[in-house]
């Protein structure tokens, strides 16, 4: 089979700033009275899915939506704390759509598609309008106008926030819009319902297979388009800041049915998380990045210094970020801060019982500004820290360590957010589209809502208004085959009855990925990870212990199915990291660094998105490249010295 070419479908011959408007004009329309004839299946109802389902239903489409949790309001999006970016320039500090576009392309280390990023920056403005109209209680100034803050090292204040619960409030807004359509009968919502396969008819995505998590029943759903809004795959590392149910299953099942998976090795490690405290650790908690505005990061200068931190005088402390990056200091971007923490710990200078932590110290800030000022800014975070660790950060420095946080990779999509598999659209963290090799803070919420409120409702017509759609029935062979395959997989998991738990396997997989495909990667490590993952996967199907049956709620079986997919996906992630012989953004290959130890891109050879095609179990993936061109920004080396 000749490799399909990857056509990004970006508008040509139009200046970047006019491209989206022009594209929308060029897209075909579906007559309002015809929309109800189309059924759209929306899988996942976090920010991306809820906003898409609600908007499409408002327009008149027939929508069926699905999520794993008992309510759309509980999607992982709910946990986002910091804020959402928008180029409103309400502070008159020089922000603009172009600046947000520019910052995002640069922040992504020049591995994102210019046109998508520009559209994202344009849509950001309308997102805030929409959310305010829905009753999202954003923070306000005394005059009643919206407040903004600067976030993640941005030089302008463009981040809108709702206390420390921005994701919650945005999701509740989108969930409200979704509820309105549910009550109007235009959305049928299925909760505690997991998509386990995509169904293709004549090479077009026409349906899905789901498993009802309460009854164990498999169901077939047919439609005219399938939207995957199923979030990121950070939990392949087992420990991450993601919610426990986050998974790669929906994306991976679609991948095995033909959708290309792009840039899986681009994963983001957040520098300020609460470190692991013991082998029972089940997830990691993020401490807001804003803490680095006032906290100073350090480790003892000498290895094995066991004095308590207050007793270590300044002369014996290494404020390594301030030392190495005098101009950005503690505010260097996430990837740089994370890598440096790892380096000092590798050097034996890590602190705490595990040696895998660094100090984030507020002593000087408290002396300078007073305890009350610091409490007003960070009180809730300090309280959260104390609740988890039992230590008081006002008197003892916090211990922090990097943790997996976000995944930039995902299913490949074109400018319409359609994957190479016709009829399959991918939104939010599940796609690869806008963040390149590194995501800027407060940009994921923006992307999820841009995709769902503004992009897909416009671009879905490229598929629906196109060729006349044959009616499909869930009794077609393709549905029967996919359902049978899904039943078999779950039955197989139940029949192994081995000696090791799903969690044990998941932890082992996570450890391999973290050690060898985490903050720093190299050829030898990645190569050995590949064989370790294969061996572990084999062991999984021989020795996993899944109890109970498939006919009622069985959380262990749910987890087992997700881990089975992570086991396959991990190999692709590692393979992608091995193939990308350069360092960029969150992907740091130790062989490719500057003399000063910074990431070294290879623009000549790697300015492309790597989209991998599944060729069958046990076969190697085929690489398709979408070359990236930069006509509106100049490629530079990021420097934070």
């Amino acid at each position: 089979m000749s490799p399909a070419t990857l056509d990004s479908k970006v508008p040509t011959g139009v200046p970047l700033a006019d491209a989206w408007t022009r594209h929308k004009f060029d897209l075909p329309l579906v007559n309002p009275s015809n929309r109800r004839k189309f059924t759209v299946l929306v899988v996942g109802t976090g920010l991306a899915g809820s906003s898409a389902a609600a908007s499409l239903a408002e327009m008149g489409y027939n929508v069926k939506a699905f999520c794993i949790q008992d309510s759309p309001r509980r999607a992982h999006s709910i946990a986002a704390q910091g804020g959402i970016n928008a180029a409103k320039n309400y502070k008159s500090d020089g922000d603009s759509v172009h600046r947000l576009f520019y910052d995002t392309v640069k922040g992504g280390d020049y591995r994102a598609r210019e046109h998508n990023v520009h559209r994202l920056a344009e849509a950001s403005v309308s997102i805030i309008d929409q959310c305010v109209a829905q009753g999202v209680p954003f923070a306000r100034e005394y005059g009643g106008l919206l407040d903004n803050r600067s976030f993640g090292g941005a030089q302008v204040s463009r981040t809108f926030y709702a206390r420390g619960q921005t994701g919650q409030q945005l999701l509740l807004g989108a969930y409200g819009a979704l509820n309105r359509q549910i009550s109007a009968g235009r959305v049928e919502m299925k909760t505690r319902c997991e998509m386990v396969d995509v169904v293709n008819v004549d090479g077009v995505a026409r349906g899905i297979i789901t498993r009802d998590l309460q009854t164990g029943e498999f169901e077939r759903h047919a439609g005219d388009a399938v939207l995957l809004c199923t979030g990121g795959y950070g939990n392949v590392f087992y420990l991450s800041t993601n919610a426990k149910a986050c998974n790669v299953t929906a994306a991976w099942r679609a991948h095995k049915r033909g959708a290309y998976f792009a840039n899986p090795c681009y994963t983001q490690i957040h520098p300020t998380c609460i470190p692991v405290s013991g082998h029972y650790q089940s997830k990691l908690t993020l401490m807001s990045e804003s803490l680095r505005n006032d906290g100073r990061v350090w480790v003892p200068k000498t290895q094995g210094d066991t004095r308590s931190p207050e007793q270590i005088p300044d002369a014996d402390r290494d404020y390594y970020l301030e030392r190495r990056y005098p101009s950005f200091g503690n505010l260097v971007p996430r990837d740089v801060a994370s890598r440096n923490a790892k380096a000092v710990c590798d050097d034996g200078k890590g602190v705490g019982s595990t040696g895998l932590a660094v100090f984030l110290d507020f002593r000087d800030a408290i002396q300078r500004d007073g305890r009350d000022t610091i409490a007003a800014k960070y009180g809730n975070l300090f309280q959260m820290y104390e609740r988890i660790t039992g230590e008081d950060p006002y008197s003892v420095p916090m211990r922090i360590f990097p943790a997996v946080h976000y995944t930039m990779g995902g299913l490949w999509v074109d400018y319409n957010l359609q994957s190479n598999l016709p009829g399959l659209f991918v939104l939010g963290e599940a796609n690869f589209s806008d963040h390149g090799a590194n995501r800027l803070g407060a940009s994921a919420l923006m992307q999820g809502l841009a995709d769902g409120y503004f992009v897909v409702p416009a671009t879905i017509t490229s598929h629906l208004a196109g060729a006349s759609m044959q009616a499909v029935s869930t009794s077609d062979d393709a549905f029967a085959e996919a359902e049978a395959a899904s039943r078999d997989r779950f039955q197989k998991l139940l029949s192994v009855r081995g000696s090791r738990s799903v969690d044990q396997f998941h932890r082992e997989l996570g450890q391999i990925c973290w050690d060898k495909c985490g903050m720093a990667r190299n050829q030898a490590g990645l190569t050995s990870a590949l064989s370790e993952i294969r061996a572990l996967r084999e062991a999984y199907w021989q020795d996993v212990n899944v109890l109970g049956d498939g006919a009622s709620l069985n959380q262990n079986l749910e987890h087992a199915g997700r881990v089975a997919d992570f086991m396959e996906f991990a190999e692709l992630m590692v393979g992608d990291a091995l193939h990308r012989e350069e360092s960029c953004g969150g992907h740091f290959r130790e062989e490719y660094q500057t003399e000063e130890g910074e990431a070294q891109r290879n623009d000549e050879a790697f300015t492309y998105a790597a989209a991998w095609e599944h060729k069958g179990d046990g076969q190697s993936h085929e690489l398709h490249k979408e070359s990236l061109t930069f006509d509106n920004v100049k490629l530079t080396t990021r420097s934070y010295k």
Partner: protein, 258 residues
């Protein structure tokens, strides 16, 4: 990792846990012994117990959880008689074992209410909450139809009060704590949030009526001012919201045109 200090402080606990195979099963308590470290979260203690049960060939205890950081509202355990356990403004998933000591006994049950049927073990069905919100817990504005966000100013005090109400995570602890299993605090939090904002005024009356009607239909009890809901709320939602909803509801009932 984690081998040193933590394991030396391990404590032995006796736990009594509600087990129920399915919605129609009678259910009952079972006792287990589990070792926990003070640094564990409460749910990690249950993870450890589940691993042990499964290694012995017994099915793990089903319980809801997801974010494990106090925001998704999935976790929903009654611990020694208290929804979400002993700590103030703390969800089950944020509770840590350092609140307990060697030899303690802990009883764990699901949130109980007629309107929250048990699905399995500690997992309940809270879809009644979704239906209350579907009845009117939103502002009707289609995508793309919104004016500029600065078109209407919102005084900071109002915005802050709206945010206080909006902080509800929909866990249902208020219902579990109420002797009448009322859902007033939950419903009032949403009614209040939207009533406090200028954007929510157009539907203010119809919203209050529709949501309260739905709440009654779902089989939640009546509020007799015990305020147990407020004490149990992990997000500090106050009963002032209930007063606000009652006022709106009363006014709406008088002026309703139907």
């Amino acid at each position: 990792m984690g081998s040193s200090s933590t394991e030396t402080k391990m404590m032995r606990l006796n736990v009594e846990i509600w087990r129920q195979a399915g919605p129609s099963d009678g259910g009952g308590f079972e006792s287990y012994k589990v070792e926990a470290s003070p640094d564990m979260s409460f749910l990690e203690m249950l993870d450890v117990l589940n691993e042990k049960l499964m290694a012995d060939g017994r099915e793990g205890i089903a319980f809801d959880h997801d974010c494990r950081e106090g925001i998704c509202g999935m976790c929903s355990l009654v611990i020694n008689g208290q929804p979400h356990g002993p700590e103030n403004e703390t969800t089950t998933c944020q509770l840590h074992m350092r609140n307990y000591k060697d030899g303690d006994s802990i009883t764990i049950e699901p949130f109980r209410a007629t309107a929250f049927p048990i699905v399995k073990d500690l997992v309940i069905d809270r879809s009644a909450f979704d239906r209350i919100l579907q009845a009117g817990g939103y502002i009707s504005v289609n995508t793309g139809a919104a004016p500029d966000a600065h078109a209407v100013q919102v005084p900071k005090v109002q915005a802050d009060l709206a945010m206080d109400a909006a902080a509800c995570i929909g866990c249902g602890a208020c219902v579990a704590a109420c002797p009448n299993a009322a859902a007033m605090l939950f419903t009032a939090a949403k009614v209040s949030q939207l009533a406090l904002l200028p954007q929510g005024q157009a539907e203010r009356s119809s919203r209050a009526i529709a949501m309260v009607d739905q709440m009654d239909k779902e089989g939640f009890g009546a509020c007799t001012n015990h305020y147990e809901c407020m004490a149990a709320c992990p997000k500090g939602i106050t009963v002032e919201n209930i007063a606000r909803m009652n006022r709106d509801h009363l006014r709406a009932s008088f002026t309703s045109r139907d």
